[in-house]
């Protein structure tokens, strides 16, 4: 799994490539923590190249959303969510927690 973080003027873009499971989810959490610990809470996560996400990955998304939405200081939004991962989010009841965009451009433009 690979993670690339790109700071933009109004938000941070995090692109993840590969599989997010119990082994790799902690690395995703660390990458997102680096952003929030720098005081930046508007985050776009590009999931277009993620082929699998377990509940460990879903928990990372929810934990980070909690951190970002606190005090209305920001938000995590998702871009290019693959259908299978969308089904996982839906089954977990997490769809209402995240705005989702068809592509990164639209997601970055949201902020």
């Amino acid at each position: 799994m690979e993670i690339t973080s790109t700071p933009y003027k109004r938000c941070d873009l995090v692109k993840i490539v590969g599989r997010i499971d119990s082994g790799t989810a902690p690395r995703v959490q660390e990458a997102l923590n680096l952003i929030t610990e720098a005081g930046r809470f508007k985050i776009v996560i590009d999931l277009s190249q993620v082929d699998f996400m377990s509940s460990a990955g879903l928990r990372v998304l929810v934990n980070t959303q909690k951190t970002c939405k606190r005090f209305n200081r920001g938000e995590v939004v998702l871009a290019s969510v693959p259908a299978n991962i969308c089904a996982s989010l839906d089954l977990a009841g997490f769809v209402p927690l995240f705005k989702m965009f068809d592509d990164v451009t639209a997601a970055v433009g949201y902020f």
Binding site: R19, S22, T24, F52, S55, R59, V62, K66, N84
Partner: protein, 141 residues
Amino acid sequence: MSGAGFPRTQTFEGNYASLADIAAFVRQAASEVGFGDFAMYMVETAVDEACSNIIEHAYGGEDIGKIQITCQDAPTELKIIIQDWGRSFNPQAIPDPDQQADLEDLPGHGLGLFFIRKWMDEVRFSFSGDGNVLTLVKRKE
């Protein structure tokens, strides 16, 4: 792996680095019995969650014990049998997550077992002196 026939069994080290290999093993079986993309994803998810729980809860950490997985093909279903030799647990004691909870109150755990129960057609646990056996059944359409 391909062409190995059914049933097929493989044993994996009980660590998180094995999860990708375990996924490849069960996806291959699911593909060979004719499952479509989403059914394969449901099987991969259930097995990944089960094995993650074995490592975290049954063994209480990585590289404590092994995980043995058997895939059996039947006319109407794929059966996946996952065995470990760690601590047993009471699956009835794990409630489904509360999906109505506020964001701040969402539970951190219990989601894996919820996925397994929702996405598999049959889920059976058995615990004996010779380890813990989880049998997952996914029916063919």
